[in-house]
């Protein structure tokens, strides 16, 4: 694979004075002789979005698991929230994970618990927050994903899209500064997918959450990269097209363990590389 041509490389962006939230430096990872990531480097700045695209099996989920420390790299360094996490023990990692939420590819909801217990899991189990306050917060985030009435149901009684939104609610309940979404809209109808996209945009623009998004759905990826959310004077959130957001979202294309494209939505649309074109069409 040829190295990424200079004109395809997105500039390492960020507001002046901001420290990156996530830094990958020459990260390598192989499962036995299957080399999944082969020298991956990127930086992600606060409030910005990285969108990973690539064929099935190209290592997108693996990148998210590395950011969380669920997997450790074979070599290279990973810095999250300013701390080197490669080589950390599981106990040290728990402190870093306190600021990171993850929406797993299949939701990974605890099926022995109700929706409310799932969403409040971390607050119930790992913090000293009073139970009444946890309940209030759970109702608040379930309202955010518009699933308030479902608080006492079991995940098995929900539809796929509802489960996905519960997973988002669970990941955001403890107010992490960084959210990782693994294919949050795959398998959803276009309308439901748009509501999920809107949640992601609202979290990013209203709560200042830094986001990493893995997706096959380019439509959703472009939507998130080109829309912004603002609070209307009456208090509710409005999501609308905002061209300046384009500069704050990087698309990253993985192929054969390498980054073959990194740049904004506009740069991706105008890319001429045949593989990229095939992927986009």
């Amino acid at each position: 694979m040829a190295p990424v041509p200079e004109e395809l490389r997105g500039p390492a962006k960020g507001r002046p004075g901001d420290e990156p939230v996530v830094v990958f430096d020459d990260v390598r990872l192989a499962f036995d002789d299957n080399v999944v990531l082969d020298g991956i480097s990127f930086k992600l700045y606060p409030g910005f979005t990285k969108i990973f695209i690539g064929a099935s099996g190209s290592g997108k989920s693996t990148v998210l698991k590395l950011i969380l420390g669920l997997l450790a790299p074979d070599s290279g360094t990973i810095t999250v929230h300013g701390q080197r996490i490669d080589g950390m023990t599981e106990n040290e990692l728990f402190a870093v994970r306190d600021h990171t939420g993850m929406v797993f590819q299949e939701g990974a909801l605890f099926d022995s618990m109700t929706v409310g217990e799932n969403v409040g899991f971390k607050l119930y189990e790992e913090t000293d927050m009073p139970l009444a306050d946890v309940r209030t917060r759970v109702e608040e985030v379930l309202g955010f994903v518009e699933l308030g009435p479902y608080i006492d149901r079991k995940p098995s009684e929900l539809s796929g899209g509802q489960r996905r939104r519960v997973a988002i609610a669970r990941a955001m309940a403890f107010k992490p500064k960084l959210l990782l979404y693994d294919e949050p809209t795959t398998g959803l109808d276009p309308i439901t997918a748009l509501t999920v996209d809107a949640e992601i945009i609202k979290l990013r623009d209203l709560e200042g959450v830094t986001s990493v998004l893995v997706t096959h759905q380019l439509r959703d990826a472009f939507y998130i990269a080109t829309h912004g959310a603002a609070r209307a004077p009456e208090g509710h959130a409005i999501v609308s097209a905002s061209p300046e957001k384009v500069e704050e979202a990087d698309f990253v294309m993985l192929r054969d363990g390498k980054i073959v494209f990194e740049g904004s939505a506009d740069e991706l649309r105008t890319a001429t590389d045949p593989y990229l074109r095939a992927f986009l069409s």
């Binding site: 698991k65 994970r97 306190d98 189990e125």
Partner: protein
């Protein structure tokens, strides 16, 4: 030869991972946080949930022991001693081992299936992502509940076993009720009772840790969960028999 070394390597890896889990469990069991709610839930699931199986097993074992030994004892004209044989074999050996084998079938497989499906649906990863140690949350409550409930269930099995023996002695063998019970007490030595009470702690540990180990190493989707369930029953049953031997040897040295 190559296949054999491959097999050996895998077996050693399995043993190593198992010891690691056992050690992590011990570390987590003596430090905070402790998930009380899960512990109580497991006491119920393992203890109360296994009661029926254990009662039926104990009852029929005691009954068949009385039947068999009554027949043997008749050859020496020693039928009134039937209570001795029932209590000696039930309390020292059969009660603990059969209870443990039933639990291997019920508890180990259940744990392996539950933790296995949590593995393949990434719920275990989700636990870690949310800052919860899966060993603390899933393994420690089950192991402690298993270690506590196995002896309790063994006592239950022993008790109904003696009752089963009594029914058969009185009904089929025409031994007087009082004679049966005094013979039961005669057959028991204090050391035997200790042996019968201490062994289940070891067996309970094996049953639950094997289930947890196999469950947490599950790979490969629903098929993997099926395989894990079968493997857990087989490994736990063999483990129970082996542990029975080693713990008996240890307790013989300590008690006598």
């Amino acid at each position: 030869m190559a296949a054999f070394t491959e097999w050996l390597k895998r077996a050693l890896l399995e043993v190593q991972e198992y010891s690691k889990l056992a050690m992590a469990t011990a570390r987590c069991a003596v430090s905070r946080p402790f998930y009380w709610h899960d512990f109580v839930e497991q006491l119920d699931a393992i203890g109360i949930g296994s009661m029926t199986v254990v009662i039926l097993t104990g009852l029929f074992t005691g009954a068949v022991l009385a039947l068999q030994s009554g027949f043997t004892l008749d050859q020496f004209g020693a039928r009134p001693f039937v209570g001795r044989l029932v209590s000696a074999s039930m309390i020292k050996e059969l009660g603990p081992v059969l209870t443990a084998l039933m639990l291997a079938g019920r508890v180990s497989s259940g744990i392996a299936a539950e933790l296995g499906s949590m593995m393949v649906t990434e719920q275990v990863s989700a636990l870690r992502a949310l800052g919860t140690d899966p060993v603390r949350k899933l393994v420690v409550p089950r192991v402690l509940a298993g270690i506590l409930m196995t002896p309790v269930l063994t006592v239950v099995a022993n008790t109904v076993g003696l009752l089963g023996g009594w029914v058969v002695s009185v009904q089929n063998l025409n031994v007087a009720s009082g004679l049966y019970w005094s013979s039961v007490v005669d057959g028991l030595f204090l050391e035997d009772v200790w042996m019968g009470l201490l062994k289940p702690f070891f067996l309970g540990f094996i049953i639950v840790t094997v289930g947890c180990h196999v469950g947490l190493r599950t790979r490969g989707g629903t098929q993997g969960v099926g395989r894990a369930t079968t493997n857990a029953v087989v490994a736990a049953s063999v483990g129970v028999i082996a542990m029975d031997f080693f713990s008996t040897q240890l307790l013989l040295e300590l008690l006598f």
